[in-house]
């Protein structure tokens, strides 16, 4: 665990403790389960975003993809009678295609990730709305899919399955990013693409894979969201989710310049964001201030982090200087 993660964990616990003191309802089982469920839902695509940010890229179409794939998933089952596992597979396949497309545009046509995924944000949202003729996609009355319900909105021992999925993918992501050769290559490409190329890394393949991975996880999260809301309003479903994801990744120590960050950090970042949301509700802060609270906490966190970093740099520098002072007290060496 990195020092940054530790700092974030302390912040999460502090905020949690304060909320509990002011309003003990925070630790009631029902509130905890609800918050945990939201953490799971938002966590899945935040991890997804982290992989792209690690390559010094950005994925802005997450919210729109969640809406589009959600609409398609429900429509396939509700209107076309497709068995849900098949619908799930189709949605996953689509996500891989979208990821490949983004990766191809970025690496082969050398477009900027911001531009590519911003266009994606607009395009997928538009398609989602057109697909349902701006209507809401929902299950018809009396649809009974107990297995689907159980897997995506059920609980095991009181733990929502979204949380279990989040935990599972978080562990996989942690191994992938921090323990495998691919993860090291991913960070290397994000840190210095040129040097990565000179080191023999197939940088294009690494970048494309990052976008594919991102979209794949987003698709999983899209299905969880669709089942959570049970109906998808394509003009508002998933709005701004990409920004939650970016915020969580940045809180988790991922630099937008790429090449650094920890999965433990993103997980804690997601937890912090949801606890803050919860705090606004529980402390009776007007919900219109929701975003303002979140923005302030992120800003303060980032400022504290950079200041701490600068302080350590200065300390290191003065240590070097005093070492020099000791050296120059010694008689000069003549060669």
């Amino acid at each position: 665990m990195y020092k940054k993660d530790l700092g974030l964990a302390v912040l999460v616990i502090t905020v949690g403790a304060i909320v509990t003191l002011v309003n003990p309802r925070f630790v009631s089982p029902i509130n905890l389960a609800n918050t945990a469920n939201l953490i799971g839902l938002f966590g899945l695509f935040s991890i997804a975003e982290a992989f792209v940010i690690a390559t010094a890229g950005i994925e802005l179409s997450i919210g729109s993809v969640i809406a589009l794939l959600g609409v398609i998933f429900i429509d396939l089952i509700a209107s076309h009678g497709v068995p849900w596992p098949v619908a799930f597979a189709i949605v996953l396949a689509l996500s891989v295609v979208i990821g490949l497309l983004h990766g191809w545009l970025i690496t082969q046509l050398k477009l900027q990730p911001f531009v590519v995924t911003l266009c994606g944000l607009l395009i997928y949202r538009g398609i989602a709305r057109f697909y349902t003729k701006d209507g809401t996609a929902g299950f018809t009355f009396g649809t009974d899919l107990p297995m689907l319900e159980y897997i995506f909105v059920g609980r095991t021992a009181g733990v929502p399955h979204s949380v279990i999925a989040f935990g599972l993918f978080a562990v996989l992501a942690w191994f992938l990013l921090h323990r495998t050769v691919f993860g090291r290559h991913l960070l290397a490409v994000g840190k210095n693409e040129e040097a990565a190329r000179y080191s023999g890394i197939n940088t294009k393949r690494v970048i494309i894979l990052a976008y594919v991975l991102c979209m794949f996880l987003t698709a999983v999260s899209a299905v969880f969201f669709a089942m959570y809301t049970r109906s998808v309003q394509p003009s508002s479903h998933g709005n701004f989710y990409e920004l939650y994801a970016i915020a969580a990744a940045v809180l988790g120590g991922f630099s937008l310049r790429g090449g650094e960050g920890s999965i433990v950090g993103v997980v804690l970042g997601v937890v912090l964001l949801q606890v803050l949301q919860n705090l606004v509700n529980l402390l009776g802060i007007p919900s219109s201030l929701n975003f303002a609270v979140m923005g302030t906490v992120i800003l303060v966190g980032v400022i504290a982090d950079t200041q701490f970093h600068a302080y350590r740099q200065r300390r290191h520098h003065s240590a070097t200087r005093s070492a020099l002072a000791r050296v120059s007290d010694m008689p000069p060496v003549n060669s």
């Binding site: 050769v181 290397a188 040129e194 040097a195 023999g200 740099q313 200087r321 060669s335």
Partner: protein, 498 residues
């Protein structure tokens, strides 16, 4: 036309960076009407000292005495106000402006009453300066049409237009032809006669011999010594710069050359699509690749290593052609490249020593795709010892190391792959003398162990000192190949220029 002659003394200047001491108690004096040659290896502290003079950085200790007034540091505007002007090694003219616009940038003359730029008045102001320098271009010539030498003259004109009393020339002749260099040296003499002090930084010792009144040498951030007018000889300068005799510093490999390992067959690069390159590098030899800046040496190396696609032809290793434009293919064939710019191409400065060293061979030391941290550290430790990389910890960022140690890390990266061909692009640029000796030793060891070593270098002495053979490039083509017995600075230069 010049103000009172300058009297400038830098006394006990010290500048410390987090990872290195750039200047340690360096002193330097210069008076109007004097040409001082400042020499020293790359990384000796010359450019840091110049930045102190130009006000770009503040020294940690020491004082700067100008005309009897002492200051702890200068700012760029204070340096300019005292008549200190710079001509940088890297020329960055504004190619969208004309010569007059460049010379008077930021001090444009305006016409009344609207304050528009008065091009005619600016041309009138600049013309006498150009005449004095013997320039063959006009104030209205677009800067984009100037040759490198003319750009240099334009920069000098710019310095003169500021009422210069001390002119600092940083490697002014590094990209000039012989005739252009002659002209520049004449300009220096004329300015000296007018009472300007000139600080002349160069690697070309013959020029220092010709024009300098005094030589100041730096080595590893220290004053290494001075030479008075009568004592300026090539050997004396080299001794001051490297602290020992050249002969024991450079030794070529002792092995007999073996079979051809690396071969390019009618290779055409993107930069010079009209010329094809046929080059052989043999096992056991160090082939020096010399030539002027822009002769296409780096481009050739990049094409051989698969960084750039090729126009035509191919590269062979041990007789087997390798796919062009693919670094992984080149590496698989046993080629590796130590790039020119180690900070942006060779290293991940924020990554640890171990991570940098292990990166190219990560798959080899991984189990089922998982990085084996112990093996990674063991490998890094092995190469730290073998290359005497001075670093206490393997888990600290490489960016904290000195240039020489960083360069050794770039070399260490490749050794784990046991390369057949190792291409080094300016491997000793900006590193200290000790590290240089170790880089040479390693190159020699690799060659003697049977690898083919190709070394691109602009440092003439280095090329002559360590190479078994030297190929000289000119405008993208191999102008000639010199055997060890034919090697001399003159022979290389004759091939490098037309």
């Amino acid at each position: 036309m010049f103000a009172a002659r300058i009297s400038l003394d830098l006394v006990g200047i010290t500048k410390v960076y987090p990872s290195a001491v750039a200047l340690n108690c360096v002193s330097l004096g210069i008076r109007g009407g004097e040409v001082v040659g400042l020499i020293g290896e790359n990384g000796a502290g010359k450019s840091t000292l110049m930045k102190v003079l130009g006000g770009a950085i503040a020294p940690d200790e020491g004082e700067i005495v100008i005309d009897g007034q002492s200051a702890a540091s200068l700012t760029p505007s204070a340096a300019l106000a005292r008549g200190i002007a710079f001509v940088h090694q890297e020329l960055n003219p504004f190619s969208n402006l004309d010569v007059a616009g460049n010379v008077l940038l930021g001090r444009e003359l305006r016409s009344r009453p609207f304050g528009f730029i008065d091009h005619a008045a600016m041309a009138d102001r600049v013309r006498p300066l150009l005449d004095m320098l013997g320039a063959r271009f006009q104030p209205s010539t677009p800067a984009s049409e100037l040759s490198l030498a003319d750009q240099q003259l334009m920069e000098i004109a710019k310095a003169l237009s500021t009422n210069v009393r001390l002119l600092i020339l940083d490697e002014p002749t590094s990209s000039l032809t012989l005739a252009e260099t002659r002209r520049l040296l004449d300009v220096i003499r004329r300015l000296r006669a007018d009472g300007v002090a000139i600080l002349f930084i160069t690697h070309r010792l013959a020029e220092v011999e010709e024009v300098a009144d005094r030589v100041v040498a730096l080595r590893d951030g220290h004053n290494a010594g001075e030479l008075p007018k009568g004592g300026i000889t090539r050997d004396a300068m080299v001794r001051l710069m490297i602290g020992r005799d050249v002969k024991q510093f450079y030794t070529p490999p002792t092995t007999k050359e073996g079979s051809v390992v690396l071969k390019t067959q009618r290779l055409r690069t993107r930069t010079y699509p009209d010329v094809s390159v046929d080059l052989d590098v043999r096992s056991g030899e160090i082939l020096g690749l010399a030539g002027l800046v822009g002769a296409g040496r780096t481009e050739l190396a990049r094409a051989m290593f698969g960084i750039d696609p090729v126009e035509a032809g191919h590269v062979e290793v041990d007789g087997r052609p390798i796919a062009a434009g693919s670094v992984p293919a080149a590496i698989a064939a046993g080629i590796c490249l130590v790039p020119e710019d180690r900070k942006s191409e060779g290293l991940f400065l924020d990554f640890s020593l171990a991570e940098n060293i292990a990166l190219p061979s990560l798959s080899q030391i991984a189990t089922a795709g998982f990085v084996d941290h112990k093996a990674e550290l063991a490998m890094a430790d092995r190469f730290r010892t073998r290359l005497s990389i001075r670093a206490l910890r393997l888990d600290r960022p490489v960016g904290e190391l000195s240039g020489g140690n960083q360069q050794k890390v770039v070399l260490a990266k490749w050794l784990g792959l046991k390369p057949r061909v190792i291409i080094l692009d300016e491997p000793t640029r900006g590193i200290d003398v000790g590290a240089k000796a170790e880089v040479y030793r390693l190159m020699r060891d690799l060659a003697e162990a049977g690898a083919a070593v190709l070394m691109i270098s602009s440092d003439m002495e280095e090329v002559i000192g360590v190479s078994t053979r030297v190929a000289v490039m000119r405008r993208g083509a191999i102008a000639g190949v010199l055997s060890r017995s034919e090697l001399s600075e003159e022979a290389i230069l004759r091939l490098a220029v037309e």
